[in-house]
């Protein structure tokens, strides 16, 4: 089955910019999550908007853009007031990988939200970036090497 047949929106990553590596990591993460979760792909197809993800301890950020057809990850902080999730990089990875729920992270002030419209994009970003629980059967890494 092709990707389009499964309605998985393509993920495009800006290869140049101050946060090119962070953009690549976020893009890879989202792509893997969409591949493994119909619910995430369904949401990603229906959301329009931009969200800023900022690694506050690194002074770096990326902008995730949804346009209903694709997801673009820009290797920079787009100007303007956007809904945002900010926090130290390691705190962001804990939320993305499900070690800490977004609510827990907010309560502990590990991460902070910048609220702006449309909030649906922020909720969608949180969903498509969070690794589905079933991916981690235990704390082992993937048993099948990626052959990269």
């Amino acid at each position: 089955m092709t990707r389009s047949a499964r309605s998985i929106p393509p993920v495009e990553v800006e290869a140049e910019g101050e946060a090119a590596g962070m953009a690549a990591m976020v893009g890879d993460l989202i792509e893997a999550n969409l591949d493994g979760s119909r619910a995430r792909a369904w949401v990603a197809r229906r959301v329009h908007g931009r969200v800023l993800l900022e690694a506050s301890d690194r002074d770096l950020g990326v902008t995730v853009c949804f346009d209903g057809q694709r997801i673009s990850v820009l290797a920079r902080r787009e100007p303007g007031i956007l809904p945002a999730m900010r926090g130290p990089w390691l705190a962001m990875t804990r939320v993305c990988s499900g070690l800490v729920s977004p609510l827990q992270a907010l309560r502990r002030e590990d991460v902070k939200l910048g609220l702006s419209t449309p909030l649906t994009a922020l909720v969608a970003t949180a969903l498509v970036m969070k690794v589905p629980r079933g991916v981690y059967r235990d704390s082992t890494v993937n048993e099948q090497p990626a052959s990269i």
Partner: protein
């Protein structure tokens, strides 16, 4: 103190990584292999310009089992005994700067100075472990630099690395090959 990129240095890095990993809880119980590709950029005296040095690092149950140099990427599967889970690619200057503590390895990865490929879900799951290993690599080994040490001067590691890993402005992720 061992010279950079010698067997003694690899052993010292391995011991530093393991000392650091021993302080952590929740390290991954499985094993993974990381390929490191260090590309000569004309600044570092340790990698000839235009050539690449290849390394493999095996992490098992959170500990570095071995860290070794191999002749080429073609030797990866034989040397690793399996496929490679992650691949770190960057300029020799960037890796030299990381090894001597001038360049933060996480910054290098986030800025794209060192390109990281592989399954990000697991890398993020074990980010604190990876952070500890990279910190040991960067700060915990007293290294000697027989041909000189960084900073080597202009251009910076970031600029040099962009020559190594630079690509089109936007990359379509689906179908992208990240093989050697």
């Amino acid at each position: 103190m061992p010279d950079i990129y010698t067997n003694e240095w690899y052993d010292a890095v391995r011991e530093a990584m393991n000392a650091s990993a021993a302080t952590l809880n929740g390290v991954p119980t499985g094993s993974f292999v990381v390929a490191v590709e260090i590309v000569g950029d004309g600044l570092s005296p340790y990698v000839e310009q235009g050539s690449t040095r290849h390394f493999l690092v095996k992490i098992d149950a959170g500990r570095c089992e071995w860290y070794r140099e191999i002749a080429s990427s073609e030797d990866e599967r034989r040397a690793a005994g399996r496929g490679v889970d992650y691949r770190f690619t960057g300029s020799a200057t960037a890796f030299d700067e990381i090894a001597c503590g001038v360049l933060d390895p996480i910054d290098a990865a986030l800025r794209g100075t060192v390109r990281v490929r592989g399954d990000m879900r697991f890398l993020m799951r074990h980010a604190e472990h990876v952070n500890a290993l990279l910190g040991a690599y960067s700060r915990e080994v007293d290294t000697t630099w027989p041909s000189g040490m960084p900073p080597y001067g202009v251009p910076s590691a970031a600029a040099a690395a962009s020559d190594v890993v630079g690509t089109d402005a936007m990359m379509r992720r689906d179908g992208e090959s990240i093989g050697a």
